[in-house]
Structure formats: C-alpha cells, structure tokens
Symmetry: C2
Subunit: 324 residues, 2 copies
C-alpha cells in the first residue's frame, strides 16, 4: 500500500502472490497491472484452462481431480500416461507428476499431497515441439506480438529458446493468433508468455499462460527492437507499445542452470566472455541449487544454428554451484 | 573505504573527485580503476595536454595563463580568438570563455576568476567537424576501440552523435590510432571518451580525454554488440573485452537537454514512443535546467540519415522543464 501510494502503477514479476492482498491496492484506487481479476484467472491452472476453453482455444483434455478413484477414472478416459498437477503454485515442473498407469495413481496423489492440494489432470500431449509466444497487451487492448519461438525443455525446465521457430508461416500465424486470444480472454495488460504445443499432426495447442515477462522472451533484450521488459513497462504506464521486430535474423538463448548446491557466483565467466557475441546474464542469486535458473546467455546470428553455437559455447564455460 | 572493502573493484563515473581522497583506497590495497595516477593526468587539463604532447600526439597549441598580460602575450602568439579555460572542473563549456581580441582578455580573466582558478589557453581550432572515439582498455593493455563518430556541438554541448562518422578509412584509422595512444599515455583502464578535431586541412587533432563512459558512446547501448558500459565493467573486473562491432549500418544519438528550469519529468514521452525504433532514455534527474543533459534518444538505421530522422522525430516530442 505504501509503494502503491508513491508510484504511478504497481506491477508484478511473479504470479504467486495472494490476490486478496493485492486487491487492497485496487480497492484504494491504485493501479495494479496485470489486475487481480487477470491473476485470479491464471493462478489456479484449472480455472485458467476453463477460461481458455471458454474462449474457444484448443488445448489438451484436462479435468479436476478430487480423489485417487477420480484420477483412475480420468486415466481411463484420457489414456495413460497423464500429467497430474497442482492447481496452484507449480512452475518448472515443480508440482507436476507424470502418472504412467492406473497403478501409479495412488503414488501421484501422495507425491502431490492431494489431501491438502487441489489437483487437476491433463492428457499427455504427444507434441513434436514446444513453442512459445511473448505478447504485450496495452491498457487500450493493443497487442505487440513477438516472433514465435521454439523452446527446448528437459525435466520440465526450459534449456534453450530459438527465435524464430522453424515453422511454416501459417503455423506461426496460428500460434500468434492463439496467444493473442489467450491474453484477451483474461483481459491481460502487460507482457505475457504463452506456452504452446505443436502436435505431431501439425496442430497448435495452448499449454499455459504466465502473467509476466517470461524466460522464453529473454532473447528479446538483445534480439528485438523493444524488449519484453520495456514493452511491459510501456503497457503498464499506458504508453504506446514498441516494435517487436528482431534486429538480427536469429537469436538463441541458453539457460544457465545450477549444476549443484553451492555459492551463487559462477566460475568460468571470463572464458565465456572470450566468445565474441555472447551476451552473458548472471542473475546474482545468492545460492545455486541443482537445476535452478541462475542466468542465461543470448547470441544473435544469421541463422539459428550460428547463434546457438555461440550461446552454447559460452554457456558451456559457466558453472554454478561448484567451489572455485 | 567501506565500499571498497566490500567489492572487487571501485570505479568512477565522474572525474571531478579529489584524487587525494581516492588515493586512500589504493593505499589500503583496494582496486580503483581508472587509478588516481590516471586521474591526476586527466583532471588538470593543462597536465593532460602536457602528457598527450609528450606522447607525441598532435593537438592545437596551448599554454598556461598566469595573468591578463600573459594571456595577451599568448593571444599575440596564437592569434585571436583563443579559448581560455579553467584547468580543473570544466565540462560542457562550463569553465570556458572564448577571448576574441586583446581587449577581451581582462573580461575573460574576470569571467573565469583567474585570481582564484588556474587557467590555460588554447588556440582556436578552425575545425571542419568534431569526431570522437570511445575506447576501452583492459588491465593487461588490450584495447577495444569503437567506431569513429561525428559529434555535433552547440554552445559547447553535444547535441547529436552520428555513428559511424562519414570520413575516409585512413582518417578513421588515424583517429583510432590517436585515441589508443592517448589512453596508453595515461595508462588508463576502463572506458574513455576521446574528443578529436578534424581540421579544415584534413588533419586529426586530439581535443581532450574523459576518463569514463562518455556521451559520445551512449549509442553503443543499442548500436554495438557490447556497450561502452559493459566493456567498462569487463575492463575493471579483469575480464576479456567484448566486441565493439555495430549491430546495424548506422546509429544516431540525440541528446535531450533541459528547455528551461523546472521539474525533471519530461512531457511528450508517449508521443516519442509512438515512433518505431526510437530508444528513449530519461535519466530521472530531479530538476531540469536549461541546457542540462536530461536524457537521450538513439535510433539505428541502414544509414545515418535514416537513423537521425527517427531519433530527431522522437526527440522533438520530449520537453524537459515545461509545466505539464
């Protein structure tokens, strides 16, 4: 409340905030963007699915899960494996459990503590690739839509983002259309990351929306005329949105993940900086944890392969969590 | 001393700091870059000239001035007009006075308070254009030299920077050679701005060095692979220097100067942001003063004219110091 009374607008960089607390800011007439109405439609991922489905967006089948028996019934309907998820506070695979058979339903329910957490299930989507679109929506409903990118995930964590994605113009257009519709359906203002599946039969499905600047958009800092961060600020402040055009033919971002538990300062930054064109970002987190996002490297190039080689070469030098 | 004991290195963004105070940091074994030895050779502009002259660099004639009679004698030698300057704490034309004739010598002496301030005189250089080079020098003497740019000054204040300067390859090489030698002569570590004159007979002369990131290098934020700011940090921390290559054919920066005394928040930012490709920087200074540097706009383009149109169009909208 003190912050809100001193600034033009309040925004968030993390969606795991109690909306009831944030609502107090709005009640006093301060500007909060994205609004708690938008956040309420996002934070509960089952509600998010319902909202997107109502807007006519295609997505893998999903269902709320209220018991082990319920989960077993849904598994029969969707087929095994399916992904059991917490409705709230899950990210980067935390709060997800892949249930491979009816026999594993009890294990999944226990792992995610179904007695205490609201859960839902999603049919496993046999996707060919994962795509993402960063999109900024202004207060007056204008959209700045960034290029469709390909994201490479391992263990539910984003490792690499390739911009632009190597997909046909019509698939790219469909991905951008879905992303736009998704953010419209929640009346989002600011920058949003929309994760999509490209299925093996060439369909684009919405996976989920993040109501904030997104890992799949970090490449826009060097790669686009106006970054996802600047456009977020522009949107929240009611300013016109900036160009989402790329400044090079291709950009690739490689995440720097904690290799082990240890100090947050990396080794190898000097070696990484030897590589021309490698843009090294270290987040300054105090502690490295295995798999934790500690930084990223972006490189531009004439094509994705060229940019990826630079980014990967630099990233390979940087180790988080090792003792010096 | 408290800061120095908590960090890897201390650097400066302003050269008007008492070097005796800074020397205490060095005496305790902390790293200060650029060093006080470098700063002492820069802060007194007469000493700076002497140092550059000793290194064999060409520059307009100059002389220390100890009295009005001295100034009149120097004027006879150099010819009128000449530029009378304070040896210390002068920038953006503050501390400069152009003496147009022997009769004006007394006025110049009074304006700059020669009884209290050490002064020197420089022959007026009938330059065709002003050039500048940003250069970062590493702890081990490596140089990252940025493209030669043209700077357009009015009333001794930089208004526009055009990158690259429209000069021949041999002139550009000479400008970069002089800049490199200048920073070597003061054993500078970090980013330096070297201002140069291109004379009407096609010679390049050194005007002065700033021991810090420089206004003529702000275009490198969007215009070059590695900005003058990142390279400064790299140099000071002992990391390898980044590429100074431009990411577009041309970049132009236009300064945003205070139009009058008033609040530091500008009008017209929204209109400026409507212009695609205009990168608007507002420094957040509390108060606008006529002619004070309050921000800048950079634009990239296929040529300087294209970039300059975008930057000027955007800059024209932004007014500092007017009441809303």
């Amino acid at each position: 409340m003190k912050l809100a009374s001193e600034v033009d607008a309040v925004t968030i960089e993390n969606e795991f905030i109690n909306p009831d607390g944030l609502a107090a800011i709005e009640k006093c007439g301060h500007l909060l963007l994205p609004s708690t109405a938008t956040l309420r439609l996002i934070q509960d991922k089952f509600v998010q699915k319902e909202t997107l489905a109502k807007a006519g967006l295609s997505m893998p089948p999903y269902a709320a899960v209220s018991s082990v028996a319920d989960l077993q019934r849904i598994g029969k309907e969707f087929g095994w494996p399916l992904v059991l998820k917490k409705r709230r506070n899950s990210y980067d695979g935390k709060g997800n459990f892949t249930v491979r058979s009816e026999a594993e339903a009890t294990e999944g329910w226990k792992q995610l503590d179904g007695e205490r957490n609201a859960l839902y299930a999603e049919a496993f989507c046999p996707f060919e690739r994962e795509l993402a679109v960063i999109l900024t929506r202004s207060r007056d409903g204008q959209h700045a839509v960034y290029p469709v990118v390909e994201t490479v995930q391992k263990n539910h964590i984003c490792h690499v983002v390739r911009a632009p994605a190597d997909v046909s113009a019509s698939l790219a257009a469909e991905a951008r259309r879905l992303a736009t519709k998704a953010v419209e359906s929640i009346e989002g203002v600011g920058t949003f990351g929309i994760e999509l599946f490209l299925t093996k039969d060439g369909k684009v499905l919405v996976n989920e929306i993040a109501p904030r600047v997104h890992n799949s958009g970090h490449y826009t800092i060097e790669g686009c005329v106006c970054s996802q961060f600047e456009n977020h600020v522009r949107a929240v402040l009611g300013w016109p949105l900036g160009s989402t055009q790329m400044v090079a033919s291709a950009a690739v971002m490689v995440n720097l993940l904690g290799a082990s538990k240890g100090p947050g300062q990396p080794n190898g930054v000097g070696e990484a900086l030897e590589i021309p064109g490698a843009h090294v970002h270290v987040y300054g987190k105090a502690v490295s944890v295995t798999g934790r996002k500690m930084g990223h490297v972006t490189a531009l190039g004439n094509n994705v392969a060229e940019a990826e080689k630079i980014a990967q070469d630099a990233a390979a030098h940087i180790i988080f969590g090792a003792t010096a």
